[in-house]
Amino acid sequence: MQFPSRRKKFITNSQTELYGHPLQFYGQPPLENISLTEFEALAVDRLKLLKTIENLGVSYVKLSDQYTKKLQFESKTLNFPYRPDADDRKSQAGPIELEKRRKDHISHFILRLAYCQTEDLRRWFIQQEVDLFRHRFNDLNPKQKLEFLHRNNLQYETISVEEKKTLKDKLVKSSYAASGVTVEDQEFYKVPFQDALDLVRTRKVYLKAGYVYIPHHDIVTIVLNDFRTRLSKALALTARSLPAVHSDERLQPLLNHLSHAYVGQDYSIQKNVGKISLEQIDSLSGKSFPLCMRQIHQSLRENHHLRHGGRMQYGLFLKGIGLSLEQALQFWRSEFIKGKVDADKFDKAYAYSIRHMFGKEGKRTDYTPYSCMKVILSNAPSQGDHHGCPFRHSDPELLKQKLQFYKVSPSGISQILELVKGMHYQLACQKYFELTHNLEDASFSLNHPNQYFIESQKVLGGGKDIKREMDAPQRSQENSATRGSSAAPEEAANASQDLAEGTEELDSFFQDA
């Protein structure tokens, strides 16, 4: 297929020039023709890579040794460029390496087509691509980094020697980048704080009057921001040209398949509506809810109230396990009116947001239950909140007490706490699952609270009638095709780096009065 190219440039780029550097900024779409078979093969491999990145990001600290090693290994297996200095000694990359870079280039652009269609897809894709880029940039040696900046015309404002002198104290203190290099020997870049949000968020940079001062060591932050912004814009543009691509009947099903194959199961699909009665919830919460939901449920029963973070996380989970809208309204109302909210106030202040959750108000988006990643990474609980992931957001001491209370054996508890310490929250949760379900080894890898529930019901063989419907085929093809076409292409939107953003509109209805 031929990629739609906005700038019809004459094709002078010989492969060596186009792929002269191990890292690409993907400024230009590929212009060659490729077969449909190759198209699919390339895309599937990149998806595998991105999926690996997503998983690694949950289990390991990004850029830690293990993270880097595993990612390099996966890149190598899938024939993507994986170690930039592997052929550093040769001045030119060999044909095998060039082929890898070509694969990297083309596959990236294919996935742009598949992942530009909705905001959710864009967000997922950008996140993984940014992580991949960060990993690769980090792997470059200093010379290659400069070369990369140069090739792609990335110039950032540096501060003068005098300015550096005056700011020296501040720069030393706030630059965590102590790599043995002193302030004098390093260039410092001065950029608006909006361009280095990751550093601002964590206070790991000197911030003054709206500008951050970034040591060359941390330049990746600025480059990444650039990468993210460009990719996000590009995806918005691609989305607009999508109708043309979609009229191609060979491509359309393929793209839909690609975009759904790897985002995992969509637990908002209401396969099992009404299979659970409200009376069952208390007992199910003890047997089959993951700890996060059990904790919220308990505090809801105790306080007859939940703040909005909890309502979102729990409400969508309940929807995912099969509560109908009517049941949900009844459930929340009956609990809230035991507390400070009367029925009238509930109908005015809360009912709307619950209907909203079911896509019956506002933008009419059908909101998806939160995955573990989302629970763990976004919208951390604060004062008065009970949501979040207990493995991530509880004091280890409290977690221990809770586990004791739930009758987990001392050796089990220490295994769990060990995993928590290593920041393997989902593995800790899975361990808890195994211990409480008397399994040697759970045969799934946990990434979603609703998955926990389904798996638990399977093991317990409970709610026989629930069981079959719950067994939703994960990543099934028939399913994804129909799902794809129902996902109407949204207006070009600023796809974002913030996981929490997708539900932003919904969030605004959940203010506490």
Binding site: S174, A380, S382, L398
Partner: protein
């Protein structure tokens, strides 16, 4: 008149008076129009009203100041919220193609609410406040105001008392209004140190992986600590008595490393005076800093956990989040949401903020002779509308609302200077073509 005399049942009677004669519409419009620098800025702004019986109407919008006035005088809202500037007029949001109606800009806002401090104040809980815990708000404003100005370079910060138990901050700089959701949340996170929900006891953890021996963490925390230190002894040790009663002592000690805790527990058996107990804590902390053991910063961590501002990050994050408007009435207390002059922050007394019935009553007091005369004097020269306008101005000037409106005026003058610059730039550009 004390606010205990306020009864929300009187609102239907006095709200019309408030909106007819006291609400500072011209300043309000001047604010939200931002000098007309951007087209349709005021027109595309969402307002939402809470009416009697908690009826909530969203997506109100107005094309002119007069229209806003008329509508408010007609609907007499119990509460006014301000939302975002949208791509289209909010009152027509149903007529535009779905998905195209989007929130584009809004002031960067912060909401600090006393209920979020319940685990660290013993004087009151939930919606109650007293002058003891109000200190927390003073600390919060100091810390945030400094950081927003010096670190982020914002200049136009409007601090507003919410009317009940908290304060709001509206950052009105153009750059702030244009921030993305991601940038807003990064700013809010930069400013948040106290993290963790009810399942997390220790909510502040300071680390310093690179310079383990330097005094303490980053610049930002140092600045914040300097503020907290000024208040800590009076607020935490005296007013809240955190080292007095057994349970509260236990809570504090839970934040110290285990070995230190044991020693302090023993020391406290003999030392009962909170000030001296705190000295013992400091002494332990000083000794620990000489070692390489974990938990070096527990002294600072305690101070921050008890005093550091607690933000509702969700309010700051969303562009389309609504926030109670300045000069709205708080229906529960009757107090007006008034702008706060930070020059008088130390003496700001939430209980001295006027209630709606107080200022309406003040209107009925007989005028002083001088004022009367002037009124007669100018009357003939004014057209009818001008007369109404100037009467309104004189009206609020006769009430205790005056000083807050005056401060609001000063704030607007400051902003006007910056948007004048903008307008000049624009017209210069036009000349060039």
């Amino acid at each position: 008149m004390p606010s205990s005399d306020y009864d929300s049942a009187c609102l239907p009677d006095i709200l019309p008076l408030y909106y007819r004669r006291l609400f500072p519409f011209s300043q309000y419009y001047r604010w939200l129009n931002y000098g007309g620098v951007q087209k349709n800025y005021f027109q595309n702004r969402e307002f939402s009203f809470t009416l009697k019986d908690d009826i909530y109407v969203r997506y109100q919008s107005f094309s002119t100041q007069t229209e806003l006035e008329k509508e408010m005088q007609k609907m007499n809202p119990y509460k006014i919220d301000i939302g975002a500037i949208y791509s289209h007029r909010p009152n027509q949001h149903n007529t535009v193609k779905s998905g195209t109606f989007q929130a584009l800009e809004k002031e960067l806002v912060f909401d600090i609410d006393m209920t979020d401090y319940d685990d660290v104040r013993s004087c009151c809980s939930a919606a109650d406040i007293c002058c003891k815990c109000w200190t927390l708000m003073t600390i919060a404003i100091h810390i945030l105001d400094r950081a927003l100005r010096e670190d982020f370079g914002f200049q136009h910060l409007l601090w507003v008392y919410s009317g009940r138990r908290g304060v709001h901050c509206w950052v009105c700089d153009e750059a702030a209004r244009k921030l993305s959701v991601a940038a807003r949340s990064a700013v809010a996170e930069y400013l948040s140190l106290v993290k963790g929900g009810d399942e997390m006891m220790k909510k502040v953890v300071l680390t310093d992986p690179i310079h383990p021996l330097s005094v303490c963490i980053c610049d930002f925390n140092r600045e914040s600590l300097a503020v907290v230190e000024q208040y800590f002894s009076r607020y935490a040790l005296q007013d809240q008595d955190i080292l007095g009663r057994k349970e509260s002592v236990d809570k504090v000690l839970a934040l110290t490393p285990e070995d230190v805790r044991k020693e302090l527990q023993e020391d406290f058996l003999y030392e009962k005076k909170p000030e001296n107990r705190w000295k013992l804590v400091k002494e332990q902390a000083r000794r620990r800093r000489g070692t390489s053991k974990k938990g070096q910063y527990f002294e600072e961590e305690i101070m921050l956990q008890y005093c550091y501002p607690r933000l509702d990050v969700n309010v700051s994050k969303g562009v389309n989040h609504l926030l109670k408007s300045p000069f709205s009435v708080h229906p529960k207390t009757g107090r007006i949401s008034v702008p706060m002059d930070l020059k008088e922050l130390e003496t700001f007394d939430p209980f001295a903020v006027p209630t709606i019935n107080l200022i309406c009553e003040e209107l009925d007091r007989p005028r002083t002779g001088e004022e009367e005369e002037k009124t007669e004097d100018t009357k003939e020269k004014e057209s009818e509308q001008d007369a109404a306008e100037s009467r309104k101005i004189r009206d609020y000037k006769r009430t205790s609302l005056a000083k807050y409106v005056k401060y609001f005026d000063q704030f607007l003058d400051g902003m006007a200077r910056s948007w004048k610059g903008e307008l000049l730039k624009k017209s210069d550009l036009q000349k060039d073509f």
